[in-house]
């Protein structure tokens, strides 16, 4: 699978890497110019999350975004048009360093997403790890999100820039 993809060619910019670690695992990494506390907030506060998550080129927008960020808490994202919904339960919540949640919109046995935030010299290395129930499930998910991921992370960069002054 050609899932390993690197984005922006200029060395100044932070790169998004996507790699299939095993038959059932996919890992995405990206560094952000900001402390882990701020990056974590951008992932867990709905009012911040909705400002960067949806790639602008998709022509979709978040209709609603609910996040009860605690172990056992639920999240639900609903998109316009057609009210496409994504939802699941938080399995792990460690402020500023680790999040894990289930993806239940496809029924039982959906993938589990773990996101870690590792701060180093004022920057944060973000690692998104997704574990699928089977090789077939990950194969079926495809790699269509690679470009979208680059776009959405660039939007998070912008948000972090604007937050820079206030946090």
């Amino acid at each position: 699978m050609d899932a390993r993809r690197e984005s922006e060619p200029t060395p100044m910019k932070n790169r998004t890497t996507v790699e299939r670690k095993s038959e059932r695992e996919l890992v995405v990494t990206r560094t952000f110019n900001g402390p882990a506390r701020v990056v974590f907030e951008a992932w867990t506060k709905p009012e911040l999350f909705r400002r960067w998550w949806v790639p602008k080129s998709m022509g979709m927008s978040l209709l609603s975004c609910e996040m009860d960020v605690r172990v056992g808490g639920k999240y639900r994202l609903e998109f316009e048009p057609d009210a496409v919904a994504f939802f699941g339960t938080y399995l792990e919540v460690t402020p500023h360093s680790r999040l894990a949640w289930t993806n239940e919109e496809g029924g039982e046995g959906g993938p589990v997403t773990t996101v870690t935030f590792e701060e180093k010299g004022g920057k944060t290395l973000l690692v998104v790890h997704e574990l699928h129930s089977s090789k077939e499930a990950l194969d079926a998910a495809g790699t269509g999100a690679a470009d979208a991921m680059v776009e959405t992370f660039a939007q998070l960069d912008e948000l972090l820039l604007t937050l820079g002054a206030s946090v």
């Binding site: 790639p55 993938p111 998104v128 269509g144 999100a145 991921m149």
Partner: protein, 128 residues
């Protein structure tokens, strides 16, 4: 997160498929233009485009499925109106494609400039 984005990408791709395929027919494009000038019933449209009612119903169904028009039945008349989709994503797709060509031609400009400069220098050398 990856899986959500993937689903969203698949979903948007599906919508592009639907709209481009809806636009791939001269009658359906005509219907869209017609509705831009005002709402019309399926019967009106069938007459306008010299088609059977059944044929026009099919076209209207395709356009409605793609979100390009909406229909509303009042009594025995089904009225068609333009949908709320402005084809922004479709236009953006075409624009990205166009930019690829722009970038390519910009590169071609550079090559042509370089060749011209080289020819000038070579010409001068020959004369010397």
């Amino acid at each position: 997160m990856w899986c959500i984005l993937n689903r969203m990408v698949q979903y948007t791709a599906g919508r592009l498929d639907a709209s481009f395929s809806a636009l791939s027919d001269v009658t359906r494009r005509g219907v869209l233009e017609q509705l831009g000038r005002g709402d019309a019933s399926i019967t009106d449209l069938a007459n306008k485009f010299h088609m059977t009612l059944t044929g026009m119903k099919k076209h209207v169904g395709v356009l409605e499925q793609a979100g390009l028009i909406t229909t509303e039945k009042v009594g025995r008349v089904r009225t068609c109106k333009p949908g709320l989709r402005r084809l922004d994503e479709e236009a953006a797709w075409i624009e990205r494609y166009r930019q690829l060509w722009d970038a390519r031609f910009d590169e071609l400009d550079k090559v042509v400039e370089e060749l011209k400069r080289k020819e000038k220098v070579d010409g001068r050398k020959k004369r010397e």
